[in-house]
């Protein structure tokens, strides 16, 4: 994903692909999404997703792992995502009880492609997690494909490139 910025056409960086107002809306949207994830607001986060052919993808082993020949940490279409929400809300999902306390900061938010009402946005994040006396720092990059709808921006797909996706990791007991 770094490549998408490093190799971006000059106008992606110089003029930017969207006007300042849209850029600010994108930043506010990603901040809202981050806050909903930090606060485990599963229904409101789910409502940010748009359409039936959504994809929530967290690759494993490498950022480019092909899901048809390799595994992902998360590879959810809408039905799998809905099951995930059901489980996260369930009081017997022990890894989520107690809930982790989370705060994340999003930065480097740059639209790298615009097609009709769809905008592809890259960003980076640092996420602090504390739970049962242990603190973890998670880091990564995100690629969102957002749709600009009458109700505001919505997520069509989201790919999360965890920095440690090739390493042994503890429970990822929250949304990234």
């Amino acid at each position: 994903m770094t490549q998408q910025l490093i190799q971006a056409a000059p106008e992606v960086i110089r003029q930017g692909l969207v006007d300042t107002g849209t850029q600010q809306r994108l930043e506010r949207f990603l901040a809202l999404e981050a806050a909903l994830m930090d606060n485990h607001e599963y229904d409101r986060w789910m409502a940010l997703w748009h359409g039936d052919d959504v994809l929530y993808w967290v690759p494993c082993n490498s950022d480019d792992q092909d899901p048809s020949t390799g595994i992902a940490i998360i590879y959810d279409d809408r039905s799998r995502l809905l099951e995930r929400m059901m489980r996260l809300k369930d009081k017997t999902a022990h890894a989520y009880r107690p809930l982790a306390k989370l705060v994340r900061s999003m930065s480097g938010i740059v639209p790298v492609a615009v097609e009709g009402n769809e905008i592809e946005v890259v960003a980076t994040f640092v996420l602090g997690e504390t739970r049962v006396g242990v603190q973890n720092i998670w880091m990564g990059r995100t690629i969102h494909r957002l749709v600009d709808t009458d109700d505001g921006l919505r997520i069509r797909s989201k790919k999360v490139l965890l920095l440690n996706n090739d390493d042994a990791m503890p429970n990822l007991t929250f949304l990234v």
């Binding site: 967290v58 494993c60 082993n61 490498s62 792992q65 899901p67 048809s68 020949t69 390799g70 595994i71 992902a72 940490i73 998360i74 590879y75 799998r80 099951e83 995930r84 059901m86 489980r87 369930d90 017997t92 999902a93 022990h94 890894a95 049962v132 242990v134 390493d167 042994a168 990791m169 503890p170 429970n171 990822l172 007991t173 990234v176």
Partner: protein, 434 residues
């Protein structure tokens, strides 16, 4: 979450037939002894042949305290070499896997080939004729043997053969391999989940007593699903395989191996599984190829069993659902678990893809199953520290054990046969004379 208590470490008394002392899960010195007496002495799983198929392929492993490189030479031979330069000891391989002709130590430049032979001695004029390069190759692991592609290592120069060690578990390993119509699996060194938990390595594995409680959230969700195709876990909705009223069984084998044996429980579901497969062209071809390869009866069983032996080979290998699981002990209170999904050879890609998705749903750091297991292992480690009342009873089902024809001990699915088999072997190895 570990202890260092002078309890005498009398392994004879710490492990009894129906109970174990919690120090075996928490004690630092016991853990070091485990590495010496178990991981450095008995057969341990290294890797699957298919992970390094070509000349020059290599993969880095950790076996007990020893870093090891698995390599493939030009003649197709497989080598397990200690990853330690024979000069002053630096590791010569740092990549997890790859392909190379040489391993060069970057401390003083000594170079080794895929067989471990020292082929490049830097500044040879500094050594006289007493220096024998053939005595300075990378140290090979003393014994390497394999069964159906599963390669095991033993650091003991002598001992029982792998074949004897596996004994009656071999037909169970076959269940996983023969899920492929060509009887071949592919394991990829770079396709795996790696998770860590702050708990003891002996917790991971065969326990038919925990699913109702640890995985309750998953039971609830699968019960709402319509289709369960391709997922052995998904077959839960058909009837509860973890009920003692079911035909599921726990089994303890010689040498510490254990299984949750779902064979009989799954057999009646063969028709359903085949009907679901036949709904797609690729699935129908799989069914036909399986029948061609194994005959109708065996193919039906193999399809009903989903390639899932649910088998634990002591101390570090488990074959569960569609994956090869390797348990890597880091410390008494820290464990890494590696889960490699297996790919079936001789099937359409969509079959493997479906298996991948079903693996992902339950296993891995953000999936529906593994995190709850890890969480409970961590709670267990925090509890076991309280050794005021140190005994952990493992007596469940002792009164209803039976010995089967193959020599395994068998009882109901929730019985602690599996734990007892593991700890019996543990005690045997921990108390064995060198």
């Amino acid at each position: 979450m570990t202890t260092l208590i002078p309890i005498g470490r009398d392994y004879e008394s710490l492990v009894q037939e129906d109970r174990v002392h919690s120090a075996v899960f928490t004690d630092e010195e016991i853990f070091q002894d485990e590495l010496e007496r178990i991981f450095h002495r008995t057969w341990v799983f290294a890797l699957h042949e298919s992970e390094i198929p070509n000349a020059g392929d290599f993969k880095r492993l950790q076996l007990g305290r020893y870093p090891v490189i698995a390599t493939r030479d030009e003649e197709g031979g497989l080598h397990l070499l200690i990853n330690r330069c024979r000069h002053r000891g630096a590791q010569v391989c740092e990549s997890n896997h790859g392909n190379t002709r040489r391993f060069q130590c970057w401390y003083h430049g000594w170079t080794y080939d895929c067989r471990g032979d020292l082929v490049g001695l830097t500044g040879p004029e500094g050594y006289d004729e007493n220096f024998d390069p053939t005595q300075h190759g990378l140290t090979p692991v003393p014994r390497v043997e394999s069964y159906r592609g599963f390669v095991f290592a033993s650091f003991a120069k002598e001992g029982m053969s792998l074949s004897d060690y596996l004994g009656p578990t071999k037909p169970y390993i076959d269940i996983m391999v023969d899920a492929s119509p060509t009887g071949e699996l592919e394991v990829k060194p770079n396709v795996l989940n790696r998770t860590r938990y702050r708990g003891n390595w002996k917790q991971v594995g065969m326990d038919g007593y925990h699913p109702h409680y640890v995985h309750m959230s998953v039971f609830k969700i699968f019960s709402k699903r319509e289709s369960t195709t391709g997922s052995a876990v998904g077959a839960l909705q058909l009837e509860d395989p973890f009920s003692d009223a079911s035909t599921s069984r726990t089994r303890g084998f010689p040498n510490g191996h254990a299984a949750l044996d779902f064979r009989e429980q799954r057999q009646p579901h063969a028709d359903n599984a085949i009907a679901e497969l036949r709904q797609s062209e690729d699935g129908a071809r799989y069914v036909d190829d399986m029948i061609k390869a194994y005959g109708e009866e065996r193919a039906r069983d193999l399809i009903a069993w989903h390639g899932d032996p649910h088998l634990g080979i002591f101390p570090n290998l488990q074959l569960i659902h569609g994956h090869v699981r390797v348990v890597v002990p880091i410390g008494p209170g820290e464990t890494e678990v590696q889960m490699y999904p297996v790919f079936l050879k001789g099937v359409e890609p969509s079959i493997n893809e479906k298996r991948l998705r079903s693996h992902e749903a339950f296993y891995g750091p953000a999936a529906a199953g593994s995190p709850d297991d890890a969480e409970i292992f961590e709670r267990t480690q925090r509890g076991l520290i309280a050794d005021i009342d140190p005994w952990v009873p493992l007596a469940r089902g002792m009164h209803r054990e039976q010995v089967d024809e193959d020599g395994s001990v068998v009882a109901y699915i929730s019985d602690e046969i599996t734990q007892r088999a593991q700890m019996k072997e543990w005690k045997k190895l921990m108390t064995a004379k060198k």
